[in-house]
């Protein structure tokens, strides 16, 4: 019962390219401050919304969501003393005192608290440059639209929300009988041969989303005075398409045994792809990562010497304590794959109408086969991942302050166990606010889970 204060630490990276992410991130924040100084328009946006338009229209995107992750890892003034509060907790308290409830997503509470504090000097990475506009979206969660709307109201800058139809659950994906029949279906997912929807997308849904994208272009033109140029946009779309191809190769390489790249590296190397899609430096980063992986697979080099059991990770990440991803290594267990943030084939390029292509990609992300929060889709993604990456067990992140991404988790646990005999264990805490994390309960569960998997493996 006498828990010490939770010891939190970043994860141990095993890939050289993964160690290059932190300098890449710092350079990205420095570039944002430089852009602000040069008078370039800054937009605060969110991770799930494709970014190609921003680069093509000379608007520099910055992400309160990612800044919240930084505040979850850093203490005030960069201090290393464990008793000094993490910035995320300090900012969250400010938001909570204004009436925002502690059950809200850690991203929102941290970035709202940071914005309410106004300017102060020792903000991590120099803080966020003030935005000229804020752009959000309605898919994945309701919170994202309302939280960024509050920031726009607080900073009194123009606001736009890109609305995407909230597609229902593809019940076909979880009919008991159909499930095992679906597995071969997945292996046929190759670009162009099969679009990524089980239940067809109606035209009015695509038309509506396309209108929203075109309205967004008018919004940026209005606020910044910059003009949309289809050729430049196609250039950026081409780069992001080729980058995605490389990332698909990486996903294949990660299926090797022993696993050449674990979830700790997977989650940290998602930054270039998620936040700087469409830039050349992102493309170069993933080429380096793919080449390093190819070399490791050739040498049969795994993250740990002898892999006793392979684990699947479900959900977002406990950014404040990434060392959890190395926890099972002492038992011979390794986290091999995380479906979140990972790519699926992009729709084929249509340079004559790139906005329609972007629309189809948005719809796939919002309600297609990989939508993290559509229950049917989420269940089938996990079932497919567990088979592709030969996982003996899964750790399910019950992110207690994010409901949409967590709703399918109960169903996933049931389907994995009852239909595929794959046991799972829950981890319950916030993304970046460590106050709700109980080390004793987490370690007790992880130990018990490791014992169970080792017994099964023996």
């Amino acid at each position: 019962m006498a828990e010490q204060t939770a010891k939190t630490a970043p994860s141990k990276k095993s890939l050289q390219t993964a160690r290059e992410v932190w300098p890449y991130v710092k350079e990205e924040y420095a570039a944002a401050h430089r852009a602000k100084a040069e008078g370039k328009p800054i937009v605060w946006s969110c991770a799930v919304l494709p970014k190609e338009l921003y680069w093509a229209m000379d608007v520099h995107p910055v992400f309160p969501e990612h800044y919240a992750v930084i505040t979850g890892m850093m203490r005030r003034g960069g201090s290393k003393d464990e008793n000094v509060e993490k910035e995320a907790v300090r900012f969250a308290r400010v938001a909570e005192s204004a009436g925002f409830s502690s059950y809200l997503c850690g991203y929102a509470r941290s970035s709202i608290g940071y914005t309410m504090l106004g300017d102060f000097e020792d903000a991590p990475l120099g803080g966020l440059p003030k935005p000229d506009m804020i752009i959000s979206t309605s898919f994945v969660c309701d919170l994202r639209g309302k939280w960024l709307r509050y920031l726009a109201q607080k900073l009194d800058v123009p606001f736009y929300v890109l609305d995407v139809p909230e597609r229902g659950c593809d019940m076909a994906l979880i009919q008991p009988g159909l499930r095992s029949a679906l597995l071969p279906f997945y292996n046929k997912i190759r670009r162009g041969e099969r679009d990524l929807f089980v239940s067809p997308v109606a035209d009015h849904e695509l038309d509506y989303t396309e209108t929203q994208w075109r309205e967004l272009i008018r919004f940026i033109e209005e606020v910044t005075g910059h003009k949309y140029d289809q050729d430049r946009f196609n250039e950026v779309m081409e780069t992001s398409y080729r980058t995605n191809e490389i990332r698909l190769e990486i996903l294949e390489l990660r299926k090797a045994r022993p696993a050449p790249m674990g979830v700790a590296d997977g989650l940290s190397t998602m930054y270039p792809g998620l936040y700087t899609t469409g830039t050349q430096k992102a493309y170069d980063f993933y080429v380096r990562l793919r080449d390093e992986l190819k070399a490791r697979v050739a040498k049969n080099e795994g993250i740990i010497p002898n892999e006793r059991f392979r684990l699947l990770w479900m959900g977002l990440a406990p950014w404040f304590n990434m060392s959890l991803f190395n926890y099972f290594e002492k038992y011979g267990g390794v986290f091999v794959f995380e479906p979140i943030y990972n790519m699926v084939p992009f729709p084929p390029r249509t340079p004559e109408n790139p906005i329609r292509e972007l629309t189809i990609r948005t719809m796939q992300q919002a309600g297609g086969i990989i939508a993290p929060n559509m229950v049917g889709q989420a269940v089938s993604t996990m079932v497919n991942a567990a088979h592709e990456y030969q996982c003996a067990g899964a750790v399910l992140f019950y992110l207690i302050t994010c409901r949409p991404v967590v709703y399918p988790t109960t169903e996933i646990a049931r389907v994995l166990q009852e239909d595929f005999g794959i046991p799972s264990v829950p981890l319950e805490c916030d993304l970046i606010d460590e106050r709700t994390y109980s080390e004793a309960q987490t370690f007790a569960r992880f130990d018990a889970f490791a014992e169970q998997l080792l017994k099964a493996a023996a």
Binding site: M1, R308, P426, S438, Q441, R445, E451
Partner: protein, 266 residues
Amino acid sequence: MFYAGVDVGSRTAKAIILHDGRQMGSHLISTGADSAETSKTVLEGALRDAGLEMGLLKGIVTTGYGRYIAPFPHESITEIACHTRGVHQVFPSARTILDMGGQDCKAIRLNESGDHINFVMNDKCAAGTGRFLEVLARSLDVRLEEMTTLALGADNPIRISSVCAVFAKEEALSHRRRGVPLNAILAGVLDSVAERVFKLINVVGLEEDFVITGGIALNAGVVRRIEQRAKMRALIPPEPQLTGAMGAAWLAKHLDESKLGKGGYA
């Protein structure tokens, strides 16, 4: 061969000696401030009960809160694994376990080969744990053992509205001061514990056979109320507080035998 299982719980420490699958001796004491000292005392108690010496033990497994700091050579295994194994030994048909000790409450689902497949634990709030009953019993100056009998015959139990153990104590006292009969208050207290604990069982899902272990199994009033909500009879091991220690002893035996065969745990 003789094996020992030691379970140092938050409120009580238990030890069991196993010989060829038969329980030779056991001992139960309340956990003192020094859990290392307590684990040694309770093990010696069990050895005396079995008429054995420490040296004869082939293997010892410790579990519970104080499992890491027992001052004798041992393996330590999680409470969940020990409780599951202990119950599986007594009731192989068990699929759901409710273990309610002093400071925590666990709901465990297990499969036919006795492995736990899902579990949930509440150890953050005293509501719905053994301590809640102790605090209430002490404030109404009633002994734990007589809580059930004293709660009988209450036609309309008083609803204890506060979840918090401390405020529930105050609420019970103010009912008492207003002359509300003791059995109505006690019935309300048992209801509030059963209600909160049943919510935990619901999270892991309830599948027959249903077993209740830990000190709470001695409280017939709570057990009956949980059975009413579960719409299912609960099996109670003969010594419900010892299942953890029992499981630990069996795992000690399993560990020792598997060391002779293939490699044991990492």
